[in-house]
């Protein structure tokens, strides 16, 4: 096994973000890499990048085929594009939906902005908003889970 090591600057950066944002915890996961730092309690999940060498070990062995990650949960609404999430129609306005809301099929759940175009993300079915996994102005990749409606 290659030496297991941590990216100290990443830890410092996340610590700085905790301080700056007043959050209690940041957990960060990409494929087989995950980092979590806490300063108290509560949860927020972000997804982005990590250091290159930390990734190399994943090249190891067996080759799990190109699965993007774990299968998304039932009722997951995935981002159809790369872009930036907006949870409300304009800054300061109330969000389109909150956890626990009942939504109708086709109702706008949030917006993904790409190339200055606001793309409304409609509810694929009627149901209850179980989880919202993104926050306002967060970048998302293609296929990221935005929220869970069941």
């Amino acid at each position: 096994m290659p030496k297991f090591d941590v990216d100290e600057s990443l830890v410092r950066k996340l610590a700085g973000l905790l301080e700056e944002t007043g959050l209690n915890e940041i957990e960060y996961e990409i494929s087989d890499q995950r980092i979590r730092v806490t300063r108290g309690g509560a949860t927020m999940i972000a997804a982005a990048q990590a250091a290159p060498m930390a990734q190399a070990p994943a090249m190891a062995g067996a080759a799990p085929a190109a699965a993007p990650s774990d299968a998304p949960p039932a009722g997951a609404v995935l981002s159809p594009m790369v872009g930036t999430v907006y949870v409300s129609p304009e800054p300061g306005a109330p969000p389109y939906v909150k956890v626990g809301d009942q939504v109708a099929e086709g109702q706008t759940l949030l917006i993904v902005e790409a190339m200055k175009v606001m793309n409304p993300i409609p509810a694929p079915r009627a149901g209850k908003v179980e989880q919202i996994l993104v926050s306002d102005a967060q970048p998302v990749e293609y296929g990221d889970v935005l929220l869970v409606v069941q």
Binding site: Q49, A56, Y142
Partner: protein, 447 residues
């Protein structure tokens, strides 16, 4: 210099660009489809962004997705690589409009050279030699004979409205010309409803020779000599070498000067390649590629110049790091394009790479994004590795290539390695005695 470059490509070329960036201290952003989540360029990049599902149209050709990825990652510049969006003028323009630097030539140069007819006209006006022929349609047999004598036999009679070989006849000498004209006219009339024909010099055994150009935004243009890419099957290059066994130093200097003078006048910036047919000591322009080429490593091996680094430098506004006088040609280099396909049937062979062992040692370079456990997706080009071998002479290079191909082992999928092993044992190849039609015949002769 850039802080962060987004690489809008995949496979070995994405890795090639990543390496150049890392060696310049530039951070990299990989973009990828869901089929490439485990790809080497994604694993090694500083950051990665998933931009779409497997089909290229929705991922690697998806301009808004790539630009969005550049925005969220905070990239300064975008390198388009080879293929995909690398010769898409609209993409180049969009990249610049969104405030990123496009690592490549201007959209105008891409557009002009992307149009075959306009490119030939441009070449002519830049004093680049093109295939001689009649200026437009030939009115009568007398004029045809005059033009044919002027350009020299054999000549090709071609339907002005034509394509696909219809209405195309070779006249070997003046004796055949009248008949060739009437046959071509008849075929042209029958196929296209238009019997206008024109004449062009017929090249019976040309080589495909291309000149590598580098230009900056300060008016400096250099050439890195030629590559011989005559070994093609269905217009796919299989093996390239530099220098060409068919060129001597004065021919190299002459065509290099023609090319650099033309590009200086053209106001070109970045890496580019002028492709020529070459026969009997004469060059005939075919087209210009306004991007990096798959076979660029052979030029790197004989000149010691990192072409991708120069591309990045000039895109950032820096001058070329060297002048023409600093370019020296040392030894010989050959590249084998290893494809995931059967060496016999040429059918693609995607799938799980169970074993991967690349050759090493003196004079051996491998550019590949493969690794044991990687699954070659079926959605993309079949090029999986480039084996580039250099030596102080062509003979040394050939011997080294032979031993490197002996060592190369890719398990789980079929590859073109067996074909390369056969090819380099062929006496014609060993003698450097091949033209653009040779490989098709060689492959067919197997059966």
């Amino acid at each position: 210099m850039f802080e962060k470059v987004l690489i809008a490509n995949r496979g070995e070329i994405a890795l090639r660009i990543h390496r150049a960036c890392r060696e310049m201290g530039i951070r990299t952003v990989a973009v990828h489809s869901t089929a490439d989540a485990d790809a080497m360029h994604v694993r090694l990049a500083d950051e990665s962004v998933c931009i779409g599902p497997p089909p290229s149209r929705q991922s690697y050709l998806n301009m808004p997705a790539i630009l969005s990825a550049a925005t969220i990652a905070g990239a300064d510049a975008i390198h388009p690589g080879i293929g995909f969006l690398s010769e898409n003028a609209q993409f180049a323009a969009m990249v610049e409009e969104h405030g990123f630097t496009f690592i490549g030539p201007s959209p105008e140069h891409i557009t002009l050279m992307g149009d075959k007819v306009a490119a030939k006209d441009a070449a002519r006006s830049l004093n680049i030699p093109v295939v001689p022929g009649s200026d437009g349609a030939i009115d009568n047999d007398v004029e045809a004979m005059r033009v044919a004598e002027e350009i020299g036999f054999p000549v090709l009679v071609k339907a002005a409205a034509g394509g696909g070989g219809k209405g195309m006849k070779v006249a070997e000498s003046s004796n055949d010309l009248v008949q060739a004209l009437s046959l071509a006219r008849a075929e042209a009339k029958a196929n296209f409803g238009n019997d206008a024909v024109y004449l062009e010099k017929y090249l019976s055994h040309p080589r495909h020779i291309e000149i590598q150009i580098l230009a900056d935004s300060h008016g400096n243009v250099i050439h890195l000599g030629e590559r011989d890419c005559s070994l093609q099957r269905r217009h796919q290059k299989l093996l390239e070498e530099a220098p060409s066994p068919a060129l001597n130093a004065s021919q190299r200097t002459a065509i290099g000067e023609t090319a650099t003078a033309a590009m200086r006048r053209f106001g070109y910036r970045g890496a580019g390649t002028l492709e020529f047919l070459f026969q009997d000591g004469e060059f005939y322009f075919i087209e210009m590629n306004t991007r990096l080429q798959v076979e660029h490593p052979v030029s790197e091996m004989i000149t010691g110049i990192d072409l991708v680094r120069e591309q990045i430098r000039v895109a950032a506004g820096a001058p070329l790091s060297l002048a023409q006088d600093d370019v020296t040609f040392n030894g010989h280099a050959i590249e084998c394009r290893i494809n995931a396909e059967s060496s016999e049937t040429f059918l693609p062979s995607p799938g799980l790479v169970t074993d991967y062992h690349a050759p090493g040692g003196l004079g051996v370079r491998v550019d590949s994004a493969l690794y044991a456990g990687y699954r070659v997706p079926s959605h993309y080009d079949s090029l999986i590795a480039k084996l580039i071998v250099s030596g102080s002479s062509r003979n040394e290079c050939l011997m080294r290539l032979r031993r490197a191909l002996e060592e190369f082992f890719i398990g789980g999928i079929e590859t073109s390695i067996p074909l390369h092993r056969r090819l380099i044992a062929a006496p014609d190849f060993i003698n450097g005695d091949y033209d653009i039609r040779w490989l098709e015949k060689f492959v067919a002769s197997k059966e």
